[in-house]
Symmetry: C2
Subunit: 189 residues, 2 copies
Amino acid sequence: MPRPSVREQLVEAAMECFHERGFNGTGIQDIARTAGVPKGSVYNHFENKEALAGEVMDRYAASRRLEMLGDESLPPVSRLRAHFEYLAADLERFSYGRGCMFGNFGAELANQTDTMRGKVDARLSAWTDAVTQVLEEARAAGALTSALPPGQLGQFLVDGWEGAVLRAKVTRSRAPLDGFFDVFDSLVV
Amino acid sequence: MPRPSVREQLVEAAMECFHERGFNGTGIQDIARTAGVPKGSVYNHFENKEALAGEVMDRYAASRRLEMLGDESLPPVSRLRAHFEYLAADLERFSYGRGCMFGNFGAELANQTDTMRGKVDARLSAWTDAVTQVLEEARAAGALTSALPPGQLGQFLVDGWEGAVLRAKVTRSRAPLDGFFDVFDSLVV
């Protein structure tokens, strides 16, 4: 029975490697070295690099804290804004260089592996649904400026966020995220 | 002196490979095979894979037809919409699976090579400037709904487009682009 801590070290190491060099730019050897374990032991825990990437996606998704979007102690619009501000703060920790793992894997792999494409699609959809739910609450409370249906607005906020995060990664600055918040305020608040 | 046609074949082949498998997923051997030339001849034309990627970026950028944005025979808003519709039609040819090369290289490489990061940044900036210019014309003509400054709106349209293209790639559908056009219409028309 493999020790859980090695598995944990591998997932953490893979997360770091995939963020830094992408999926195809990362070898199993890189992950093993980063985790400080022998290369062979990776295969005691994961069938292949893609299986490890799937686990990393799950871990990353959990760290997006979608549960913030259901916290009814905050009014819907403040709650939604706080969610994106939380994501922005997470990006700032790495000087905006890492981007979003959903976007990174989507851009790199959607055309290469249907499994990863499906995983990214499912994560972005679940996120869009959660954002849409908050927008529906905001609309019911009369707190939405835009006349667009919440579902459409929710999709555009998530896609717009992904585009802004990509630009933040490319410019290494927060400015594109500030631009997102300005448009957010004009559509939502 | 290398024959220009081989160079041309290599750029075309590299464009296809990078779109299909990304930068790190593509080897010089893949490009040579796709072009139908011996691997060694790649180095007669390009110093390395990154030099080839730079050339592919230039070629891709030219195919974005930014000059459409300066065509004053169309009113500014129709011109801007036609530009994005042109890009959407280009994506449709590949069932939305390829995405945008700026976004793909940005997501995959911005954290790995500062040269490629700079190239993607420059291309997205030039594009944003051209879009902003049209929005300024639209504002002067009283044809902008949104009260946001054209520069901010221009950046958000480009970033929102990139996010929508990523989602189209991940869902293999036009729906996210339609969502972009709906928001475009609510902000711009």
